[in-house]
């Protein structure tokens, strides 16, 4: 590498502005989430007079009668969504990826292009589509199907059902993205493995479970970890875009509850910290549980 000649100036000009903005708008706010979680009695309109409360916000979340049941409820909703959305999304994404990369299909490109569309749309658009087009009580597309079956399902307002309405929208949004992801790792599997499986007379389903899935397992694990972290965030974005600030309590997820605390930012930040730690814990746990011997080809 070249010596001297303004090297320091060059490196500084390239890195320092970036480092400053990154520190100002990411590092500092992240540290502040933790810092503010130990304070109480402040909000958007009263920032100056905050008061150090130690771990009181955390204690309140789990013990205070006016908070704890709601907080535990949002925890349950979040976990339900993570389990449901992850299993259904990954199931469909893997099956469709298997079909599109293994079968001779007419219009293969067409299907890939269409399936990816939800991923490029804004959460606001998707929420509005589901809320007004699919779940509407009078003219919703899904409502018209459930009516046909003689069922009255209140997709938008039914207390028991809204969390599943949310899950459907999230699955709809995610399948295509992960399908494309798996298609590319499936394309890397060598043809000769499939040929020898065919010679042994293995059927489609056996090939899928015993060859395709094990060979893309590393990719499944990586995406799973990221999926869990992003589901916690996306679930909030969907609830907020669908219901604004008046979501029915049965759809409240962790981050929604955080944003509910407009009068007590300290409590909000404590919820943020717990959510943050929970997402890492869960991702780490899933990563450990799914550990298998890596098959190389």
């Amino acid at each position: 590498m070249k010596k001297g000649g303004g090297r320091g100036l060059f490196v500084g000009l390239c890195v320092i502005p970036t480092a400053i903005l990154f520190t100002l708008f990411m590092v500092v706010p992240t540290l502040e989430v933790f810092y503010y979680s130990f304070f109480g009695g402040f909000n958007k309109f009263n920032i100056v007079n905050k008061e150090f409360v130690g771990f009181q916000n955390y204690i309140d979340l789990f013990t205070k009668p006016s908070i704890a049941p709601k907080f535990i409820g949002t925890f349950q909703n979040t976990i339900l969504l993570i389990v449901l959305v992850t299993i259904v999304t990954f199931g469909f994404a893997l099956v469709y990826a298997g079909i599109l990369s293994r079968e001779k299909i007419k219009g293969q490109n067409f299907f890939r292009i269409i399936f990816y569309i939800p991923n490029i749309l804004s959460v606001v658009v998707i929420s509005s589509i589901f809320f007004n087009v699919i779940y509407d009580a009078d003219i919703g597309i899904l409502t018209s199907f459930t009516n046909l079956l003689g069922l009255t399902v209140k997709w938008k307002s039914g207390n028991e059902i809204v969390i599943f309405s949310l899950a459907i929208a999230m699955v709809w949004q995610a399948i295509g993205y992960y399908m494309v992801m798996y298609m590319s790792s499936m394309a890397a599997i060598s043809e000769s493995i499939y040929e020898s499986a065919n010679l042994e007379g293995a059927g489609r389903i056996r090939v899928f479970f015993q060859i395709t899935i094990p060979l893309v397992w590393t990719n499944i694990r990586t995406t799973l970890t990221f999926f869990i972290i992003s589901t916690i965030n996306l679930s909030y974005l969907f609830v907020r875009a669908m219901y604004g600030t008046r979501a029915p309590q049965s759809t409240w997820v962790l981050l929604y509850y955080m944003y509910e605390q407009t009068t007590d930012y300290g409590l909000a930040m404590a919820i943020g910290v717990i959510t943050f730690l929970f997402s890492f814990l869960l991702a780490g746990l899933v990563n450990a549980v799914t550990k298998r011997e890596v098959l190389e080809v």
């Binding site: 708008f25 269409i114 569309i117 007004n132």
Partner: protein
């Protein structure tokens, strides 16, 4: 033998059915929005409201788009979105490309800390830190005694660009690392300085990954709403926030036509772009690994 052929055909039929059903599940609601954007309000409420989602529009009202653009201020919001997306994207490229190159190629004090912090930043979602960012900007405003940092589209662009840095630098840096050092050494021998080498040799070579970065961040900035809704208000909001407000207003005031026209305005640029770049987008995505 005949049996296996028959069985094969049935399996194929099921496979096609599965593909077609999922394709319809995606296309039909999107097309429905496009059709609904032309419907008069009377299609949605009162005695003349349609009885099923499959009935055709009673008339085609192009005025919905005019109403959305002017009366519902979608024109203003569209312009806001264009400004925010363009400024944020430009700023992001100026900040991220040279930094990624230097991080990939030069040793300097603090490099390791910066790299580690950026990697950590990949896991910090902006939803967690919007409130502290807002408090920070409110603090700045208090310090200067006037409202400048809040409700400012350019500041929003700066925030969006800053929070996109970890993912963008991660993609670009891993690309710069793969370019052989011989290219730079040749440039230095020819007497090119650091700046010239970066701008005329290295950045052009990183074009594929720069394009990936532009595509992904364009989509992210254009579709973003959670930072905008916190930092902007009134006439300055971006299109997705405008849609959310209209969508909530339409539940009471029943301006459905305008709302659907507004939805079309948000979707159309993205769908048109997608038609041209879908191959690049999906290739770039799998090359770059996972998005946060």
């Amino acid at each position: 033998m005949k049996n296996t052929i028959l069985k094969e055909r049935i399996v194929k039929a099921i496979i096609y059915l599965a593909l077609i059903i999922f394709a319809l599940v995606i296309i039909v609601p999107v097309l429905w929005v496009f059709l609904a954007a032309f419907r008069p309000n009377s299609d949605f409420r009162g005695d003349t409201a349609m009885s099923s989602p499959w009935s055709l529009p009673s008339e085609f009202r192009f005025e919905n788009f005019v109403d959305a653009w002017t009366k519902a201020k979608m024109g203003d919001y569209f312009l806001n979105s264009v400004i925010v997306t363009a400024v944020a994207l430009g700023l992001l490229l100026v900040l991220a490309i040279p930094a990624s190159y230097v991080l990939a190629r030069f040793k300097f004090p603090g490099r390791k800390i910066l790299n580690t912090a950026l990697m950590g930043g990949l896991f910090v979602n902006v939803s967690y830190i919007v409130v502290p960012i807002m408090l920070l900007l409110l603090g700045f405003d208090r310090a200067i005694g006037t409202t400048f940092f809040m409700n400012n589209r350019f500041i929003l662009s700066v925030v969006l660009a800053s929070t996109a840095l970890p993912f963008t630098i991660y993609l670009l840096e891993s690309y710069f690392v793969t370019i052989p050092a011989a290219f730079e050494e040749a440039a230095y021998v020819d007497g090119a300085g650091y700046f010239k080498t970066m701008f005329s040799i290295m950045i052009p070579m990183a074009k594929p990954s720069v394009i990936t970065v532009i595509l992904f961040n364009f989509l992210a900035f254009w579709n973003e709403y959670i930072v905008s809704i916190t930092l902007l208000q009134g006439d300055k909001v971006t299109l997705p926030v405008g849609i959310m407000n209209l969508s909530q207003a339409s539940q009471s005031k029943a301006e459905y036509g305008r709302m659907y026209a507004g939805l079309v305005l948000v979707m159309l640029p993205v769908l048109i772009l997608y038609m041209f770049v879908q191959k690049k987008l999906t290739q770039g995505m799998t090359a770059g690994g996972v998005k946060g």
